[in-house]
Symmetry: C2
Subunit: 427 residues, 2 copies
């Protein structure tokens, strides 16, 4: 902010905390590298625990590494959960996830203050959550901790997921002392704030995005199986080069979006591992993961069908095997209309502009929205860039978001969002 | 062999040793995995040392991990070296390299016997060599130990080369106790036998290939630098996907061979590393190594020029940076004609058919041939396959090769190949 003196002290405290956490796992180019259950992730978790305990919140860690800072207003009542995740992509940005957790801590602290002062009458208790492994960069699938909480993923199965070095989630969480045994708080509702990771708010100069639905997404596990041979001694005609066939698959996954209206879908390969990966060996195997997303489930299904046909042709052309399997299918899902309206009012009350928006990215709120009424807010992202070190959101925009999140959290704690919303089953 | 009883006991001993070494680092599919300076490589080196010491050879290890089994016939005279390498590609074949070392041990032992019996008069001493890291799968460049011996590579620089886990050659050799301090024997000549790794001998039903020249080869280090972003949230038009651009480069490297006559060159990408390699991140970087080879230096140079132009176009089209640099250029090189004729006579004396042949693959002999007159022999490879687990050569063909190698080694020890051969400088 241009004039730090003019900022209220509560906002200054938020900004100080945000910028302090951004130093954990900081990279030279202004990003962070805090992949799930690494020493850097452990450090941010320690910061979370310290912050909460200092202020009298009870910290719990559940059996998939989710951290909760809990406060009880109404004995035996369920909790409003508010939060996001402190883990990052490899060489990720410092806003993705961390902004939501630190905003949640400050919003929750303000709501607790309001309850203590009698300014807000609580119907539910309140907890801030740092979900485990939202990013899925080290351990697939992503959105792991909140999906286990929501019963979408099996905890035991997730604990067995392994990174590329063969280390399991259970081993990695144990190594950082974060495989907990605490019971997670029972949820009555959920709120989350996040950077947009797109350009819509910036382009339209809106302060707040209120998420009304999440894109339909699915991944394809693609295993290209050729034959290993000598890069020097094997005649071109005798080769079954897995990398050449894989390169064609990568290009088809990229190009399939052109079969649809511009921006109607996104599609790409992010993980792509070559074996044996020796300079002098024609590759025998490429294992890759493609990520297909659209607001329209029909478009993703049609793109998938096109790709399966094209991949079959590539396999035939190269006389090699390409195995493809679906995984991590996430239905298009609507957030409750009552929650969207509640968030719009909260923004208006703060004198801020807002617009309804879809989320292309997955978020913990998407998992939580399958079990309790959830509210998801966005703040603008400069240039729309994300999952990279130059990801950026201004202090002003962050502070505005904290104000709206505080208001939304307060309303949820007061029971203003009905637990049985009309959205149920609208996935 | 169909009837083991009919095989001379010396050949039986060779076959027993060969099949014993094939159990070190053996894979389920009949191959071996003995990458340079791994525990499996250490085990095969221990076998080499044990075999040689038991039979009274003096074992030395030099400062780049080359192992020598030496015997002195003529005090202060230089040595005829004969050997190959015991390291393998990841999931490599059991013949590539290992056949040459075990054949050399047996050939050398037979020559020593002949000298002891007065049947052969020596002009030089004799050493069997197991060159370090011929394969280059773990540490680039390949043909490392013999190239350091020949003064083509700098020892200190090679000791600093690192594998994909960041471990240096010096660290890896130290870890297996094979970073030696012995002076290597001074060479007067070199002989090596190897499987063909091609189909020519099999197709023409010849027993022995006598290598007259090695292909011109070079590698390209290609670094594709895009921008990391979110696979879900980033609009297709806003991406600078390094993997998509890299896929186009892979296909161009593959297709460039079509600009020339069939089989006139080979070209491929063997190593290809994606960063950050997370399923949910558009890749920021792909680092790859392309391998171009031809009998004709002009063809490789022309292919390189075509690729540089095409890669520039790809970089422009994707608005990303692609850095390309040349490395590991190996000139087309002729083996001495005297040596070729000597080997042809040796084959004929054994009643075997032979033909002159080019080597597409690099070998330790190619490095040694730059400093001393060298002879390189091939035996047939079934289906021509190599650098893979189903690489195969029959016992009969291996035994025939040992006989010819024994004869060639004996002739070299007797000084039948002039040290200043007319081939010098014909590279």
């Amino acid at each position: 902010m241009s004039d730090i003196e003019s900022i209220p002290s509560t906002d200054q405290a938020f900004l100080e905390d945000f910028h302090e956490v951004a130093t954990i796992g900081a990279t030279d180019a202004g990003g962070v590298d805090r992949q799930a259950a690494t020493p850097e992730d452990a450090q941010s978790r320690k910061w979370f625990t310290g912050w909460a305990r200092t202020r009298g919140w009870e910290v719990r860690v559940d059996g998939i590494g989710n951290q909760y800072a809990c406060t009880e207003f109404v004995p035996n009542a369920p909790y409003v959960l508010v939060g996001s995740h402190l883990d990052s992509q490899p060489l990720g940005g410092r806003f993705d996830g961390a902004y939501g957790v630190i905003a949640a801590l400050h919003a929750a602290q303000r709501v607790r203050q309001a309850v203590a002062e009698g300014a807000r009458k609580p119907a539910y208790n309140l907890a801030v959550v740092n979900w485990f492994n939202e990013e899925g960069g080290r351990f697939a699938p992503s959105i792991m901790g909140s999906s286990v909480y929501a019963g979408l993923f099996d905890r035991e199965e997730m604990l067995r997921a392994r990174d590329l070095d063969g280390i399991s989630v259970a081993e990695a969480l144990t190594a950082i002392g974060q495989l907990g045994t605490d019971a997670p708080p029972e949820a009555a509702g959920y709120a989350e704030i996040h950077i947009e990771q797109g350009r819509i708010l910036e382009r339209e100069a809106r302060d707040i995005g209120v998420v009304e639905s999440s894109w339909y997404t699915q991944k394809l596990d693609i295993d290209v199986l050729g034959e290993q041979s000598h890069t020097g001694a094997t005649a071109m005609a005798d080769r079954h080069d897995a990398l050449v066939a894989a390169a064609k698959v990568v290009l088809r996954v990229h190009a399939v979006t052109e079969s649809f209206e511009e921006e109607a879908m996104v599609s790409s390969v992010g993980q792509h591992v070559v074996e044996p990966n020796s300079p002098i060996v024609v590759p025998r195997r490429v294992h890759m993961i493609a990520d297909l997303r659209s607001s329209s489930p029909e478009i993703v299904r049609e793109a998938r069908a096109i790709l399966l046909r094209e991949i079959e042709e590539i396999a035939r052309e190269h006389d090699i095997t390409i195995d493809v399997s679906d995984f991590d299918i996430r239905e298009k899902r609507y957030f409750p209309t009552d929650g969207v309206e509640l968030a719009e009012k909260a923004a208006a009350n703060e004198g801020l502009s807002s617009r309804r928006i879809e989320t292309m990215a997955g978020h913990d709120s998407v998992a939580m929205n399958t079990v309790v009424p959830s509210v998801m807010l966005f703040v603008p992202s400069v240039d729309g860039v994300s999952h990279c070190e130059r990801e950026f959101t201004t202090d002003e925009d962050m502070v505005r978001g904290v104000a709206v999140l505080t208001s939304v959290t307060g309303e949820l704690v007061s029971g203003e969002l009905p637990p049985e919303a009309p959205w149920a089953g609208k996935s």
